[in-house]
């Protein structure tokens, strides 16, 4: 293999851009080996620079290994392989004239034209500042002046006019136009980022301005759309978990050779051990107890907890789930086999279970104490207990004896904490105290959750 670094005259520049791109992707957690970089360089040589989209797909194919990485890749690619530096040569367009052309482009759903208009819009309306040190480009300002969302009615009217018949599909029109406008906003954002990158150095921006992949979004910080995306990440996780557990259980079912019984059985064949006798494993019934904090402070986390609980419920025959805020209640009955609706489940739990006493903030001491008292029978020597919560006690007594009792009675107790390890012990967090009694793990995002769950679950 010889990397075609001498390609197209500016080989060194291409190689530098490519390694810069790879470096930026790596810093976002995309694992890329040297082999892939060489492949990517070959792809560049084969495809050339004539077609930017083709180049984008080619690099994605050689560098990426999964779908989840694409949202990181695209903006980074835009930074390193910009669409004609400087944008189209026209001067700053009139605002109304630009809006006219944008309306036409939206009506025609012309992606290429929309991209050009986005560049023009940022060029004309996105710049701010006058001194060379402080100026920049803002997508917010651009969108504020252009107001693409106000074009909806106009685009609808022009489409109705041209389309003629007003059939059934027409009632979808508004949604379609909205999606196109959303796409335009995204283009403006990408263009503004690109221009800033030119000013401030690409590597810096690539590192900061690109959103992390869904499986690395912090549970506690996730916004609404990110939550929806995270949910899509967690659902296959549950499936994957199921297949992996099934495989592990199958393997565990085949025991080791029972020498004594093999020899005894071989007596009938004159001492030749024709059939090895395997030691039978008693089919251990994994008993799982989940204790979930569902208070408002960990709302983002608890939605995922719910998804996870649902997945485990489908997998294990014996799972009991308890939810708490400052009082604890069993919610196993609220789980439905096969359903995967975290929001619905969370709402159901909040509506139907008694989780709060006099106030609405979480109290681990109270909840844990009540659990060991009321549901003492739920935990036995074969039970694995998962506690899911941030261990923030709101300054009340953490009730360590209750946890100690829990740890003594259960086979294993794991505590999954959605806060970063550095946060433990700050403010009202009782995490270090609990961590001394039971095994506490940091579980901040879907990636960590997936890794932890497969490792910690009993077979």
């Amino acid at each position: 293999m010889n990397p075609p670094s001498a390609h197209a005259g500016s080989g060194a520049d291409v190689a530098e851009r490519l390694t810069g791109l790879v470096g930026a992707l790596r810093s976002h957690g995309v694992r890329i080996g040297t082999g892939e970089t060489v492949d990517a360089a070959q792809a560049v040589a084969v495809l050339g620079f004539a077609d930017r989209e083709s180049l984008r797909e080619g690099l994605a194919a050689t560098l990426l290994h999964g779908t989840g990485q694409r949202p990181v890749f695209d903006p980074v690619f835009d930074l390193y392989f910009p669409r004609g530096v400087g944008g189209p040569g026209t001067g700053p367009a009139e605002r109304d004239e630009l809006r006219d052309r944008l309306a036409a482009a939206l009506a025609a759903n012309d992606q290429a034209l929309m991209a050009r208009l986005a560049a023009e819009a940022v060029d004309g309306f996105g710049g701010y500042g006058s001194s060379p040190g402080s100026d920049g480009w803002s997508s917010y300002q651009t969108l504020d002046r252009i107001r693409p969302q106000t074009l909806l009615a106009r685009v609808r009217a022009s489409l109705r006019e041209g389309g003629g018949e007003a059939g059934f599909a027409d009632r979808l029109l508004d949604d379609e136009i909205r999606r196109r406008i959303e796409e335009f906003r995204r283009l403006v954002g990408a263009e503004a980022r690109r221009r800033v990158a030119e000013r401030r150095g690409r590597d810096e921006i690539a590192r900061r301005a690109v959103a992390p992949t869904a499986d690395r979004v912090d549970f506690l910080l996730a916004g609404r759309t990110q939550l929806a995306e995270l949910r899509r990440t967690v659902q296959p996780l549950a499936r994957r978990l199921a297949t992996r557990l099934a495989a592990r259980r199958r393997k565990a079912a085949r025991g080791s050779i029972d020498l004594r019984r093999t020899v005894r059985a071989s007596l009938s064949t004159g001492g030749v051990p024709m059939r090895p006798v395997l030691r039978k494993r008693r089919p251990a019934r994994p008993e799982l107890v989940l204790l979930c904090d569902v208070s408002g402070s960990v709302a983002g986390f608890s939605d995922f907890t719910m998804l996870l609980v649902q997945a485990l419920h489908d997998q294990f025959s014996k799972v009991r789930v308890f939810a708490f805020v400052n009082r604890v209640d069993e919610v196993t009955g609220l789980l439905v086999h096969g359903a995967a609706d975290a929001e619905g489940l969370g709402a159901r739990i909040r509506a139907e279970a008694t989780l709060t006493g006099w106030h609405g903030s979480s109290d681990y001491g109270m909840a844990l104490g009540e659990f060991t008292e009321r549901y003492a029978d739920a935990v036995g020597p074969r039970t694995t207990v998962f506690v899911l919560g941030d261990a923030r006690t709101n300054m009340s007594d953490p009730n360590l004896p209750a946890v100690r009792q829990l740890a003594e009675r259960a086979r294993r107790v794991y505590w999954l904490n959605p806060e970063g390890r550095s946060q433990w012990g700050t403010g009202d967090s009782a995490a270090p105290a609990y961590a001394e009694l039971v095994e506490m793990r940091e579980c901040r995002n879907a990636r960590q959750l997936g890794a932890l769950i497969t490792r910690l679950l009993p077979v």
Binding site: D39, E53, E57, A60, T62, H65, G167, A169, L172, A340
Partner: protein, 285 residues
């Protein structure tokens, strides 16, 4: 095999496979770089069809390894024809041991399975490893050897190396994460739902009798459904099914009744149907 990305699109189109630029680019690269192509994406977007189309263009033999839980070396690579070996042994009872032994492990008693078949022989071949994610992890290890060096070792026969590399397509529905090592050896392609324009062309191609305006409406409704938060969004295969259904129903335009009655072709879960009904205002009419 191909001269350019456009050439890939054009020739795929000749076989009735309309490819997005991403698909055409990646197929072109896979051919040029001689690497296996790992195709992921939702069910019914044409992952398997892609392999078939490439085989048709290349005039190649399509060899398919359908993966399932429990598929193993003897199903994927080769096995010995034990029955025939036994027959051979009992037929030659008075032979010396050496003659019998060397004989029964020869080509004649070998049953090549897909992976070995794809490596042997000089003709052009397309190897389709379908639903790779369904196979157990051990099989992935096996694939690693085959896909990186295009060679297979049969202890009794020695190492068999491909004289002509097959074009390899692996598909996966991502029910299980494939190993990093396997991914590294492949070019990665995610086929998503096509954009409206492409899907319209696909529908027109597959169901040419359908009225153009109706095809457009079909694609728009499907697009709206995909934008909804459903358990199973309709894929291209379902769009085509729906187009055929509408044709069979003799509908010339979409209206509430037609859509409501045939929604089951597109959606496979009752909650999804209810959601779609609410969103498309079907029940209030």
């Amino acid at each position: 095999m191909f001269t350019s990305v456009d050439d890939v699109s054009a020739r795929l189109a000749e076989t009735g496979y309309l490819a997005s630029p991403a698909v055409a680019t990646t197929v072109f690269l896979a051919d040029r770089l001689g690497k296996p192509l790992l195709v992921e994406g939702p069910a019914g977007v044409g992952k398997t069809e892609l392999a078939k189309a490439v085989a048709e263009i290349a005039g190649a033999e399509l060899i398919r390894l359908q993966c399932y839980e429990g598929v193993d070396e003897s199903r994927a690579l080769y096995e010995w024809n034990h029955a025939k070996q036994l027959l051979r042994i009992s037929a030659g009872r008075d032979e010396t041991w050496d003659a019998a032994r060397t004989d029964i492990f020869s080509e004649e008693f070998l049953l090549p399975r897909p992976l070995l078949t794809a490596i042997r022989g000089d003709g052009p071949k397309v190897l389709l490893i379908d639903e790779t994610d369904k196979a157990d992890v051990e099989v992935e290890g096996l694939l690693l050897e085959v896909l990186s060096d295009f060679q297979v070792t049969v202890p009794e026969l020695g190492t068999i190396t491909a004289t002509r590399r097959p074009f390899v397509v692996l598909t996966s529905n991502a029910t299980r994460e494939l190993s990093e090592a396997l991914r590294r050896r492949c070019l990665f392609l995610h086929i998503d739902f096509p954009d409206a324009e492409l899907e319209r062309r696909i529908v027109r191609l597959k169901v040419p009798e359908l009225d153009a305006a109706l095809a457009e409406s079909v694609v728009r409704v499907v697009g709206a459904l995909r934008a909804m938060d459903l358990r199973k969004v309709p894929s291209v295969a379902e769009t085509i099914d729906w187009a055929r259904t509408l044709l069979a129903l003799g509908a010339d335009t979409l209206d509430e009744t037609v859509v409501r009655d045939s929604l089951g072709v597109l959606l496979k879960h009752q909650d999804d149907v209810l959601k779609a009904n609410a969103k498309l205002d079907l029940d209030t009419m």
